[in-house]
Amino acid sequence: MQHVDPALIKGLTIGLGAIGPAIGMGLIGAAVVGAVGRNPEIQGRILSTAFIMIGLVDAVLAFVLLILFTTK
């Protein structure tokens, strides 16, 4: 394992680490569109909840970036 290029590992880290948050954000977006379509009168409350969920999902990608940028 000593001969693996660290750039490859870093590329794999960001590539694999971005899959989960991307799927999560897509699910949130789909759910929000569906919910607003069903009852558009509480759009504000749905969107505020959706932004919280996006923030939570985004943190996962942030941890990946943190690991990526802080390892030699």
Binding site: R45, F51, D58, A62, L65
Partner: protein, 266 residues
Amino acid sequence: MMVPFFGFDIEPLGAQQVFTLGPLAITNSMVYGLLMALIIMSILTFGARASQLWPKSKLAFWCESLVELILGLVTESFGDRKKAMKHFPMLLTLFIFILACNISGLLPGVGTITYNHVSLFRAWTTDLNATAAMAILTMATVQIYAIRTIGFKGYFEHYYTHQPWKPGNILIGSLEVYSEVLRLITLALRLFGVIYGGEALLAAIGTLAGSFGWAAMVPITLLELFFCVIQAYLFMMLSTTYLVMSTSQHEESGHEPGPVQAVAVS
């Protein structure tokens, strides 16, 4: 001082000492955090001075609109204006301070102005000490208000129920206590990770694009602005949710749960 990383120059993980004030080492994030705190305090003081029943000054109008917006969000989560007003000052302070500190990292001069070969300015929230301090403050407030509202017995029963000798209750209660510690850690790491990762990403994109770094950085900067607002909002709303969850135990008049209480698990 910048750390080379595959040819990009990014800020090191920890904040660096700029000078010492007696026994206290002043780091660059402390300098910028204090500066931002002074700026916010002066702006809001001017806004509060000019506030009237019918505000004529634009600054007062915008300050009042912001406060009104946050008050609406917090009241909706608490479901009760009187309870919301009790915790509102701390939540508003957290939101405005975190938002200003997040955005301050995107201003020019951060990382380029140096003093003794150490960059003088560094956004307050890109320092893990700072976010951990704010998270500890929040969680300590939550625990103290929980004990004050529902008493020691209720606080204990919140975790271990009224039959703490049953093994199942011990297991679940310990998991609950562990999740409180986990909340503290995630609250600190989430804010730090997103803001620090974003700034490192900006540096990396700027280096990768070469001569066209200024053009490539525009969309990333807009994305970062979005995340700055989201993270400040998230920190405040999660603090609100933890407060609501821990202080509204064993109430006979069960009010409608707010919109954010569903996501309080993390």
